[in-house]
Symmetry: C2
Subunit: 314 residues, 2 copies
């Protein structure tokens, strides 16, 4: 198993990526081979300092970096030797099985769409977040910002993508799907939700259990919560502050509140594209990088992208 890791992405690059790699390797007796993409004059001494060497580590030199504020499409065109461009080349050519970066999100999304491409039948790929539930379980909520205006048919597809992610990555047997809405009864909601409900109800590929409300998000009512990327993004960012609130009130160590800390889920896979791509938070720390590598491993092991392909051609 080969995973490409952009060492130059994230606010603390490349240090946190190196430390995350160390965490990952020290916890795994048979780790994946990690292709560390970045400036080798920076990486070589840093990897040495952290005693990271051997067959499981390969440095891939990338002399360029795409900055956070560069316009994605132009940057990808003008910087073919950037760590992000090289990552996509490795993934597209099959030299690696997954690509992870905490760099420029726009460039990661554009690169994913143009180099890796959406699976046939998928109207719009999506990004998701995991949701820590009070009973200890983990839900998934999607979309969280890639698609801010959604047609009902797209939401219906998110339900399928989320269900497969929940099943193959979070290991939920028969994931329950809920439509995020302002009331429980069928017929409630805005025009979008009203039009989406019947599609979900008729969708034989998912286990739709009905509408869920804002108060249900952290409870064990559903495993997959479907919404558009506008609402989902606001919820995601609001949920992230729950950890901040807890820290501010000196209960940040609480095991439950801590699960809201972004480092514990790391990044979001792009669901609905042909190969595993994981996009990290700009503030990613070592633990976040480790968790992104673990998610990539699970996506490769479970062959998630092919399961999605099968579902969309069936």
């Amino acid at each position: 198993m080969n995973i490409a890791l952009d060492m130059m992405g994230g606010d603390f690059a490349p240090l946190e990526a190196v430390k995350g790699l160390q965490l990952y390797l020290s916890a795994n007796s048979s780790p994946a081979t990690i292709f560390c993409i970045g400036d080798e004059t920076l990486l070589q001494p840093l990897l040495q300092e952290y005693n990271l060497s051997g067959d499981h580590i390969k440095i891939v030199h990338a002399p360029e970096v795409i900055g956070y504020h560069e316009p994605p499409t132009r940057a990808l065109k003008e910087k073919p030797n950037s760590s992000i461009s090289i990552g996509f080349q490795l993934l597209a050519s099959g030299k690696v099985d997954a690509f992870i970066s905490a760099g420029n999100t726009g460039a990661m999304l554009v690169g994913t769409m143009y180099t890796i491409k959406a699976i046939e039948g998928v109207l719009r790929p999506t990004i998701s977040t995991v949701v820590p539930k009070l009973n200890g379980g983990t839900g998934v909520l999607l979309d969280v910002g890639l698609n801010v205006d959604c047609k009902p048919e797209q939401l219906n597809q998110f339900a399928i993508l989320g269900s497969l992610y929940s099943h193959y990555i979070l290991k939920v047997e028969n994931p329950r799907v809920g439509l995020l809405n302002v009331g429980e009864e069928e017929g409630k909601g805005n025009v979008q939700a009203q039009a989406t409900y019947p599609l979900l109800k008729e969708n034989s590929k998912i286990n739709f259990v009905g509408n869920i409300e804002g108060r249900d998000i952290f409870h064990d009512k559903v495993d997959v919560t479907v919404c558009d990327g506008f609402t989902g993004n606001i919820i995601l960012k609001m949920a992230e502050t729950i950890y901040d609130l807890a820290v501010h009130r000196n209960v940040g160590d609480d095991a439950y509140f801590h699960r809201f800390h972004y480092e514990n889920y790391g990044g979001t896979p792009v669901l609905g594209v042909a190969k595993p791509v994981i996009i990290g938070h700009g503030i990613s720390n070592d633990k976040a990088f480790m968790n992104m590598i673990i998610t990539a491993e699970k996506m490769i092991e479970s062959d998630l992208c092919n399961k999605i392909k099968e579902s969309f051609t069936a």
Copy 2:
């Protein structure tokens, strides 16, 4: 000052309304006169038991009650002697200056629209929630569910209504208005947010400071957060569960988390209608009822409805 209180609304009616009334009266040396609307055979002994008598309490007999699951429009027509119908008659005729109920929300909204009516120029009245901020301040977020599909012009009006509420009721000097969105920069967002931004920017009646994100909701970036009722309702219900999470993790007594408990804000006024109407949560307890009476007092004292009228005719 005369306030009508529906004693038959809420899951624990009339007991919690009576206890809330007692809390209110015991904390005020010169209270408003409360018109207690409900079944007098129930109310008389209960008010006596709680030693509530004197000039500040008037029982208004209402032999009927509108149940939680009755269709609003029909119920209002078929039960003219229900506590909600009588409350609106008292308010419309000027016998009272405000009406409060924790009963059937739909009936309260229909009654408000048909009996009290929207202020001229207001496209759609709105309901809001207060937001506890980490620095101790209090923000207001609207709409929270009355208008699930919004045109940009409606959101622009919510900004005005929220600003006046923030100024006159929450006593914020020059309330900062933010548009809830998925990014900070102008041009971000879904079609709705993109179309709303320029209207807010051009609106001379408000102090618009730009977009705010989900992570800013509990911070002191703005005093008024504008969104449609779909997103707002989900946020409101999600915020209510933050208190539940805190209780579940044994930090419910924490002063900050406790501010998320609905009882501390009680109910929501309907903004943009001609007279003060306050709608309570079905689960309202004594403290919630007390706080609704206090909000009604503030709305009457500040003459909020007329300030709104002036703003919309200016």
